[in-house]
């Protein structure tokens, strides 16, 4: 178990998330509605509302190292239902981008099976690579 330390340098890292996503993470009041509706919440290490809280406390890495941004479906359910109008999907994207911009691949074309490549629609490839490769 780790202990949470709120430090200034951690809080500064959050500014990057804010900048890329264009969202004010501090307006989240932890109602949990994003988690309630999230189709992927059951798969996430950290559910969306917890992710918001970790970010408020400066724990960017905790969230970006979790599977959360990578099992997000960009379905925008959280964004349309957040009572505070926060675009949580954009925050998930920011977390992905921060990682991808370090030249990180989450999906790799070579790892896709031959027969899958035959049947997958082009939009599946394009969107998956857009979301999960640099």
């Amino acid at each position: 178990m780790s202990e949470l330390k709120v430090t200034e340098s951690n809080l500064e890292k959050v500014d990057e998330v804010i900048r890329i996503s264009g969202q004010n993470i501090y307006s989240c009041y932890q109602c949990g509605k994003c988690t309630s509706g999230c189709p992927s919440a059951g798969l996430m290490d950290i559910v969306p509302s917890q992710a918001m809280k970790f970010l408020q406390l400066g724990e960017v890495e905790k969230v970006s190292e979790s599977n959360t941004p990578w099992v997000c479906l960009s379905c925008f359910i959280c964004s349309v239902r957040c009572p505070k109008g926060i675009d949580i999907a954009a925050i998930m994207e920011a977390l992905r981008l921060m990682k991808l911009r370090t030249n990180f691949d989450y999906v790799h074309p070579n790892k896709i099976q031959e027969e899958e490549r035959e049947i997958l629609p082009p939009i599946a490839f394009v969107s998956a690579f857009r979301k999960m490769t640099p």
């Binding site: 509605k33 988690t35 309630s36 999230c38 059951g42 950290i46 559910v47 009572p83």
Partner: protein, 670 residues
């Protein structure tokens, strides 16, 4: 100011509120250099007793004929310092406030130098203004010692009884057929679990029997004219087609009416006839005919409109036939306008619940077994349609599990309601408890964001209910509710465990947001009182004048101002009544003399000012072709002076000359 100006400037620190940002010493020093200023000083809390003494002493010692207080908003302490000046023998209207808190130190918190320079400029401008201030004496107006109370819920009832018991006349106007308001819907009240039948109905009876109370149910305020102490009110007694004096409340008519209309007293869960009574506790216990639904009334209307030919026999006269008291007449509307004169008005119009249509993710009112909390109150009430054992609307089964959803629309700016409705946490706990009493093997879930139980005995109540009822509290806002087979599926979360939660349940109760009644905007316009961004009535000052509106003589009580529980509502109602009684205890009322006045030499009677006036205080004298200000009605807002093309209309102590001089000082450096 004909005499030479001798102005004193008093700069307040307001603790650190002002002095923490603004260099108050420098402001006072700069002020002293100004032409006409003979004295200046600072003090830590100018509004305190010793602070006021500083002002009083300086007025006497330096023979001041003008005073500038640099402090907070005039809505807070203008009166304080005007009274202090009066005690020191200076005409109170020679005192003006330079607001250097709300308009300087607070907005410029992080820029002290700019704030200080702005404070100096504001003080200088106010000094210029005071130089031209004149002496005025308040008006006296007579007062009609009767009060109009709009809304017959628990707030209106309490206020009516308080004023009536003090010996004054009360006109209590209620739009529905009975008084009692929303409280009458309730099963039991938190945290004491009194039933409204036990605690509210006796008060309702007192109202109906009180010799000083004129009860006007099924009535609406049509128009309001006049001013503080002298309002003329027209009240519309809506067409009920029943003579209330003759009706004995026997209920024979209710049994024969063939119409089935949704019964609003059961939140639409049951049906009522076109002729109906609210319930057995209705006060007055009389029937009314709902024009919208009555077959005969609608037929007669179409006859009058020439759409159908009259018939010899009525289309439906079942109720008329059974009424032994001969109280019903469907052929003629008995709508009438009643005029009353009152000295004061209390607005106690209460609240409504947000329409479930606004919550499409929660089923949008389309899922029968998703109901709002007032409907569930009816299902829990021993006097309700299910005699206290809840049965769900879709199939009449007793629900074996109920999910309660807090903040359904409240604390939700995206749904237009950013505020907390304040009572939901409490009543949901109570409802869960009553449900468990009625259905001991039932399961109650409560989704909440925060439990707000800040009242006497409230937190203890919630904790007790949670412990005793094996209630499952889940911390998270519900995202989606839908019907699946004969179940209702709720998608929620528990953020404390970090889990998404799905519950299949029999019934869902939404704590929908408390919102202002839709008619409130129209009524507020008639009364010339403002509402806030949501439509709640605005108080004159949230902290210090919460029961008054900005229009003198009009008071507010209860949830009309903002969501409130019964305790707070009743306290406010008694408070508003006390305000009225204070007014009535004086033989004459004083009115502020800072009103608009017309220079009759210049006025051309164009009437632009009349159009601008929100208080109806201006009329055009047709003969002389000039406008005339009714000083008793004028609230001194200055809209007329601003619009007057010739400069004939002016606001006392804020004349065009004064305004221009202030602007000149303020823009000097630009």
């Amino acid at each position: 100011m004909a005499e030479k100006p001798r102005i004193g400037v008093f700069v307040c620190h307001c603790g650190l509120n002002i002095a923490g940002v603004v260099d108050v010493k420098r402001v006072a020093e700069e002020a002293k250099k100004l032409d006409g200023v003979v004295f200046s000083t600072t003090y830590v809390f100018m509004c305190s007793e010793p602070g006021q003494k500083v002002v009083e002493n300086a007025i006497k010692e330096h023979k001041l004929n003008g005073v500038v207080i640099a402090n907070c908003s005039p809505s807070l302490h203008e009166k304080t310092f005007r009274n202090a000046a009066a005690r020191a023998g200076l005409n109170p209207y020679r005192v003006e406030i330079a607001n250097i808190r709300e308009q300087v130190s607070w907005p410029h918190e992080h820029e002290p130098e700019i704030a200080t320079r702005k404070a100096i400029a504001v003080v200088r401008a106010t000094v210029e203004r005071v130089k031209n201030n004149m002496t005025y004496i308040p008006y006296e107006v007579p007062v009609t010692k009767a009060v109009l109370i709009i809304g017959g819920g628990i707030a209106g009832i309490q206020a009516a009884l308080d004023v009536a018991d003090a010996g004054y006349e009360v006109y209590l106007v209620e739009k529905s057929p009975t008084i009692g308001g929303k409280m009458l819907f309730l099963s039991e009240t938190f945290p004491t679990l009194d039933c409204p039948q036990c605690i509210e109905t006796p008060k309702m009876t007192d109202v109906s029997q009180h010799p000083n109370i004129h009860l006007m149910t099924y009535s609406e305020v049509e128009s309001v004219e006049g001013y503080l102490g002298n309002f003329n009110v027209k009240i519309k007694r809506k067409a009920s087609y029943v003579d209330f004096d003759k009706c004995t409340g026997c209920t024979d008519c209710l049994r024969v009416c063939p119409v089935k209309a949704p019964n609003e007293f059961d939140r639409g869960l049951t049906k009522r006839g076109a002729i109906y009574m609210a319930n057995e506790q209705a006060v007055p216990l009389v029937a009314v005919v709902d024009e919208k639904y009555c077959i005969e009334v609608n037929f007669q209307k179409r006859v009058k409109a020439g759409k159908v030919k009259p018939r010899e026999k009525p289309v439906c006269s079942k109720c008329v036939e059974v009424c032994e008291a001969d109280a019903i007449n469907l052929l003629e509307s008995n709508e009438k306008i009643v005029e009353v004169k009152v000295g004061a008005i209390i607005v106690a119009t209460g609240f409504e619940l947000m329409d479930m249509k606004k919550l499409p993710e929660y089923g949008g009112g389309e899922v029968p077994d998703v109901i709002d909390a007032l409907a569930f109150e009816r299902l829990l009430a021993p006097s309700g349609p299910t005699a206290g054992v809840p049965k769900r609307p879709s199939d009449g089964k007793i629900p074996k599990s109920v999910v309660f959803v807090s903040c359904a629309g409240s604390r939700d700016p995206e749904h237009g309601v950013a505020y907390c409705s304040r009572v939901c946490c409490m009543y949901l706990a109570k409802q869960a408890m009553l449900y468990k009493h009625a259905v001991p093997d039932g399961r109650a879930y409560n989704f909440y964001i925060d439990i707000r139980s800040n009242g006497k005995g409230y937190e203890e109540f919630v904790q007790r209910v949670r412990e005793e009822g094996d209630l499952i509290y889940l911390r998270g806002k519900v995202s989606k509710i839908f019907r699946k087979g004969d179940k209702v599926v709720v998608w929620g979360a528990d953020t404390l465990t970090g889990q998404k939660v799905e519950i299949e349940t029999d019934l869902v109760v939404l704590a929908t947001a408390m919102v202002p009644p839709p008619e409130i905007k129209k009524l507020a316009a008639k009364l010339r009182i403002p509402t806030d961004e949501y439509g709640w009535l605005s108080e004159a000052h949230l902290k210090l004048r919460p029961l008054e509106t900005v229009t003198a003589g009009i008071f507010i009580a209860g949830a009309a101002q903002f969501p409130k529980d019964i305790t707070d509502t009743v306290s406010q109602a008694s408070g508003a009544a006390a305000k009225v009684l204070t007014m009535f205890s004086q033989p004459k009322l004083k009115r502020e003399p800072i009103v608009a006045e017309v220079d009759t030499e210049i006025c051309a009677g164009c009437g632009l000012c009349k159009e601008q006036c929100a208080y109806d205080a201006i009329r055009i004298d047709e003969k002389k072709n000039i406008s005339v200000v009714n000083e008793a009605l004028c609230e001194g807002c200055g809209a007329c002076a601003a619009v007057c093309p010739s400069g004939a209309m002016r606001l006392r102590n804020l004349t065009k000359k004064q305004v221009i001089e202030m602007i000149e000082v303020l823009t000097e450096n630009y």
